[in-house]
Amino acid sequence: MVKWSDFERAAIQDIFSKIDYDVVGSAALSRCLIVYPWTQRYFGSFGNLYNAAAITSNPKVAAHGKVIMAGLEKALKNMDDIKTTYKDLSVLHSEKLQVDPDNFNLLGDCLTIVVAGQLGAAFTPEVQGAFQKFLAVVVASLRKQYH
């Protein structure tokens, strides 16, 4: 069981209450596809991912960004048992989507950077630490059902 300090709980809830879900998910996913182009291998059906401008304006990327945020919100609402909450998602990513789990860290890093850009100085080192701990638990839970 993951132990969250009061500060961590508050910081994580606060971040999610401040960010614009419609913008952040899409921005994080497009950054991932731009900064780490090999991740595009999982999005063959998304159409034009030819350059940064195309990726940023791709409607399928935007839509999928929202799907990702919805998934993260599930973790946010069940912070004390993300592992169980994510069991089916983990099976989905390993057996159906067959995503190399190292990619979860790449997306997580991009998400951190997008949140940092949105919150500026309010995204202090301590707040970042809490957010990254949350993402680490999310990633570990998504990796759990890979065999």
């Binding site: 950054r31 900064v35 940064a52 940092a116 850009g117 500026g120 080192p125």
Partner: protein
Amino acid sequence: MLSKKEKKLIKEIWERLTPVAADIGSDALLRMFASYPGTKTYFSHLDISPGSAHLSSHGKKIVLAIAEGAKDISQLTVTLAPLQTLHAYQLRIDPTNFKLLSHCMLVTLACYLGSEFTPVAHAAMDKFLSAFAAVLSEKYR
């Protein structure tokens, strides 16, 4: 691989950050210590609390070295030769830590530059810092 455009962009960004090198550097270090506590083990000889003089001067040192490298990216191996020796034989910092500091440096840039830290700038910077780290660890073995 860095294109000409990317090299120019990287050089410009670090030129702008040189006057605030201490702030940028100490911010990135603090972020690294907060998110990756294992990295603190390399600093037992310094006072790394927020606002300390050690943190400020060390952060400045790091940023100025990166900025120097950014001035002529094609010459990284030449520019970094002394630092390669330092890291390989004296500091012996495990190279996986370079990735951690690089990530925190990107977060600092995102906070500092806001929307100016576009996906294109982010990609270029990430590639540059990876190349920098790779050159830095070249003499390790």
